[in-house]
């Protein structure tokens, strides 16, 4: 382990990056490479585990330990690693198909257990690597290779799903907003348990402009509802206000600043965070970005290892000879 501060270059592997020109993954990669030195963690103690998909090529391009595993299973493999090696910092890189289609079950179980994983879901609302079928986050009606007449499935709202799965840290950011993305990575890294980050990522080849509403200069400001702990929840044009048991959006023009709900990312009750997640429909007209929820709960790996320490402390370390000779025995 080294003491000299590391740089972006130290985290850049020698592998040539193989995404399509203009792919949002490039921006995310670059942001990650610049951010990692900040952690002050030696490269050898960082592991990136991914599934399969364009996004899952990510680990190859970082000069840390990495496993490009199989489709949908990264959270399971990463859980085994994180539980058995609490000394490591483990990132999971996944896509909307990898994490929410084939890998949905492992994702929600990792979140409820609160395994110490930083899970980055690159959501391009399409299957990129397999050349353009719809995904569990594709808007209903999307015409793709596998849905020439338009898809019929109601998409998942990844934030709602994560909150429904007991996640302790849930955030959303956008590939091309490096500052915001980096801030989220920073907060996620500071969080003890599972951190779930949905990153809107543009796939210029199979679903270009999926997020133009929140990336185009003319529409983004009005669409992005900034979630900042302790700050009123609003976009350039709208604010979040209460209405009975529900919350709703009101034009800033028509309300008083004081009516706007102040964001509390540490609210022990995930219900309000959940309500916020419902503000964004497939149309992306209103999209909360930032940290929906960030609460403390013991991490799974630390609980597992503490329990073991406790058992060994109270019962003493196991003695193989004793074990083999336990129970009813007899001499011949």
């Amino acid at each position: 382990m080294t003491d000299i501060a590391l740089t972006k270059k130290d985290f850049t592997s020698d592998q040539e990056v193989r995404w399509c020109p203009g792919c949002g993954d490039y921006a995310i990669l670059s942001a990650m490479q610049s951010f990692l030195p900040e952690l002050g963690i030696p490269r050898e103690n960082i592991v990136f585990i991914s599934g399969i998909g364009c996004s899952s090529r990510f680990p190859y391009y970082l000069d840390t330990f990495g496993v490009h595993s199989i489709h949908g299973r990264a959270p399971a493999i990463a859980s085994g690693l994180a539980i058995s090696r609490p000394d490591l910092t483990v990132f999971v890189i996944t896509g909307d198909g990898d994490a929410l289609s084939i890998g949905g079950n492992h994702l929600i179980h990792a979140l409820r257990r609160n395994v110490e994983l930083k899970i980055l879901l690159f959501n391009n609302r399409i299957y990129g690597l397999t050349k353009g079928q719809y995904s569990p986050t594709s808007p209903q009606g999307l015409v793709t290779k596998s849905t020439p007449a338009g898809s019929l499935d109601t998409p998942f709202n990844p934030i709602s799903l994560a909150l429904g799965a007991e996640a302790t840290f849930v955030a959303r950011t956008i590939d091309n907003d490096r500052k915001h993305l980096t801030a989220i990575l920073r907060a996620a890294s500071a969080h003890k348990g599972s951190a779930f980050i949905e990153i809107y990522q543009n796939c210029p080849i199979f679903y270009d402009g999926a997020f133009s509403q929140v990336t185009d200069a003319d529409s983004k400001e009005a669409s992005l509802l900034q979630l900042v702990h302790g700050q009123p929840i609003k976009s350039a044009k709208y604010g979040v206000i209460r209405n009975g048991v529900n919350i709703e959006l009101a034009e800033l023009a028509n309300i008083d600043e004081s009516e706007i709900v102040i964001h509390d990312a540490h609210n022990p009750d995930p219900s309000f965070a959940f309500a916020l997640s419902r503000l964004s429909g497939s149309d992306l007209e209103h999209v909360p970005v930032g940290i929906f929820r960030d609460v403390e709960r013991a991490g799974y790996s630390s609980m597992v290892n503490d329990q073991l320490k406790e058992i060994i402390k109270t019962q003493g370390a196991g003695d193989l000879t004793k074990l083999l000779n336990s129970g009813d025995t007899w001499e011949v």
């Binding site: 050898e44 399969i52 058995s84």
Partner: protein
């Protein structure tokens, strides 16, 4: 004047009753007494697939069979000499296995019209003479127990529950044993509940007294100790031995044991046992499914733990894709398959050997793995250690096959000396310049075990084909062909002990071959055959992939090779393909071990055709 005591060479006794009647416990206790008296023995529990089917119904019957003798015991025995049937269902479910003249002890209180009807007895078998050919003891177990416990303040239900101890008492007397051990056992078990303890002790004693005093029994029996290798023994089941073997491997390798598992019959007890042994710093991770279980184990292996997953056939099917990744990543991984009746959900509580081809070939592409199989309950210990040796030395997913028969069956086990266990210490890759993750050890062809946390060897691996040495992604045709062959060569080159043939006369022409849990029945059959002057050789394959290097020569040597399998001939197929040798298969897929008698008959047919 005391009743006469008759000496017997061996006894097969079966306890049968409702799931709720505590037959497993009764059997266990009776077994422990036989064990500590120095008898050799073998047991076979038989559970219903339902947790507790309705009382008194056939599906609800649970049984436990014990075979103990004054000589080596190789199976739980074919036909019981004694049946203890706690109700009509237990009688009906087991009567067909009883030879004429056998002893049958039943609780006549349970033979009510209602209970008889439940299992379709028109008239009571106690009255229609259908049991005349047996030595029947119809005892009022329940009522006598309840009466005896009248003084103790427990519910009638609890009083009735103690009847299994009454029965145990009777048998303890019948086989001329001391009551001390069981009394001690009960005291420990019910330490927290005095009344229940009193009840059990009294029921047990009353049963013993009943045997001693009543007219019902005229003689008691004695089975002398068996001549066994001197040493310290304990009785052990295959699943317990397997769990202990894994712990031993962890201790001997200095690797932390990580079990990723999802419960499934009959493998769950491995998870249960290891969960109890956390003081050995074992991580037991009950995953959300089998895929996550093996995935977590693989992730732990990647991190430098001894990654293990334990399951049964359906679980193996689910794990297959992840095991394929293990083949590509070339990391140590132990997959335990405690086989059960298939296909699909099949017969979850019954035994079978039909997963061999699945573990060999159940993955996409050329995906070679090591495969070994345990042959007896206690052998599970040694084979678990072997699985660890192979997996860690060759960095390859390694299957250890067991099955429902040896997993739940028990036998006396001479407790090994820990000092004598093999050293399994491993070497992780060290910090170095231009580290090549797929540079191989020229001897083992294993790649380095390069775990996170080691400075300077940061690298990326994955499921795509990798370039030789560097491990980088490669779609290069020649490289793929090379890597496919070297992965195969690595597994083919795994060092395994030669197979040993047992051919006393030295000139037998028929070889009785086997693998896995058929060892007991085959050995018993071979012994019987030899006792009858037949010449027959025996060999048992414990290493299925790769095969022992002398196997081909062995098959060459014997014109006729008999191979009984609890499947439709899976190993036979592998042998035929590999050695182009005709194998005489004998297959039965009944969810039960072979009987000694049927194997003797098979062999006689071959010996004298």
């Amino acid at each position: 004047m005391a009743k006469p005591v008759v000496a017997l060479k061996s006894v097969i006794i079966r306890f049968a009753g409702d799931s709720g009647d505590g037959m497993q416990l009764t059997g266990d206790r009776f077994t422990m007494d036989a064990a500590s008296l120095g008898n050799d023995l073998s047991t076979l529990p038989n559970f219903p697939a339902e947790i507790r089917a309705p009382q008194g119904t056939l599906p609800g019957v649970s049984s436990f069979q014990l075979h103990f003798a004054d000589h080596q015991v190789l199976t739980a025995g074919d036909a019981p000499d004694v049946l203890v049937a706690m109700n009509p269902a237990a009688l009906k479910a087991n009567i067909n296995d009883m030879p004429r003249g056998a002893t049958i002890i039943i609780d006549k209180d349970e033979f009510t019209a209602r209970n008889l009807k439940k299992v379709g007895y028109e008239v009571s078998p106690l009255e229609d003479g259908s049991l005349d050919s047996f030595n029947l003891h119809a005892i009022a177990l329940t009522s006598m127990t309840v009466t005896a416990l009248a003084g103790i303040n427990i519910s009638r239900k609890d009083a009735e529950r103690s009847k299994n101890m009454f029965a145990l008492g009777v048998l303890t007397w019948m086989y001329h044993r001391s009551t001390d051990a069981t009394q001690a056992f009960l005291k420990a078990k019910f330490a927290k509940n005095e009344d229940i303890l009193k009840a059990n002790l009294l029921a047990y004693q009353t049963g013993w007294n009943f045997g001693e005093t009543s007219e019902e029994f005229v003689t008691s029996y004695e089975v002398a100790p068996a001549k066994m290798k001197p040493g310290k023994y304990r009785n052990i089941s295959g699943n317990a031995a397997l769990a202990y073997g894994l712990i031993a491997a962890s201790q001997q390798s200095g690797l932390r044991l990580f079990l990723g598992s999802y419960p499934i019959t009959p493998a769950s007890d491995i998870l249960h046992e290891l969960s109890k042994q956390k003081k050995f710093d074992i991580v037991t991770f009950q995953a959300e499914d089998e895929i996550a279980a093996v995935g977590a184990a693989l992730g732990a292996s990647y991190g430098g733990s001894l990654g293990v997953t334990a399951t049964s056939g359906p679980g193996v099917a689910l794990k297959s894709e992840m095991i394929g990744l293990g083949v590509m990543l070339e990391l140590p991984l132990i997959i335990i398959d405690v086989q059960r009746g298939g296909p699909s959900t099949g017969l979850p509580t019954k035994t079978e050997q039909a997963d061999l081809l699945q573990v060999m070939f159940g993955r996409n592409g050329e995906s070679p793995v090591a495969v070994i199989a345990a042959s007896t309950p206690s052998d599970c210990f040694e084979m678990a250690v072997e699985a660890a040796r192979i997996a860690t030395t060759y960095r390859v997913p390694t299957f250890l096959l067991s099955d429902g028969y040896i997993a739940n069956g028990t036998e006396p086990w001479m407790i090994p000396d820990v000092a004598a266990l093999p050293d399994l210490s491993v070497e992780f890759a060290k910090t170095q310049e231009n580290f090549a993750p797929y540079e191989r050890n020229p001897e083992t062809l294993a790649r380095p075990w390069a775990i996170p946390g080691t400075p300077g060897i940061e690298h990326r691996i994955g499921g795509l084909e990798k370039a030789d040495k560097t491990g980088e992604i490669s779609y290069e045709p020649a490289n793929h062909d090379f890597m496919v062959r070297i992965r195969a060569a690595k597994v083919a080159g795994i060092k395994v002990p030669d197979i040993i043939v047992d051919d006393p006369s030295g000139d037998a022409t028929v070889l009785f071959l086997g693998w896995g849990s058929t060892f007991g029945p085959i050995s018993a059959a071979v012994q019987t055959l030899r006792d009858n002057g037949e010449k027959i050789a025996q060999a048992h394959i414990k290493y299925l992939n790769p095969f022992p290097s002398n196997l081909g020569a062995l098959l060459e040597k014997y014109p006729k090779v008999i191979l009984p399998e609890m499947n439709l001939g899976q190993l036979a197929m592998l042998l035929r393909a590999r050695f182009l040798k005709d194998i005489i298969s004998y297959n039965a897929v009944r969810g039960m071990p072979f009987s000694t008698a049927e194997l003797v008959e098979v062999a006689m047919g071959v010996l004298h055709d």
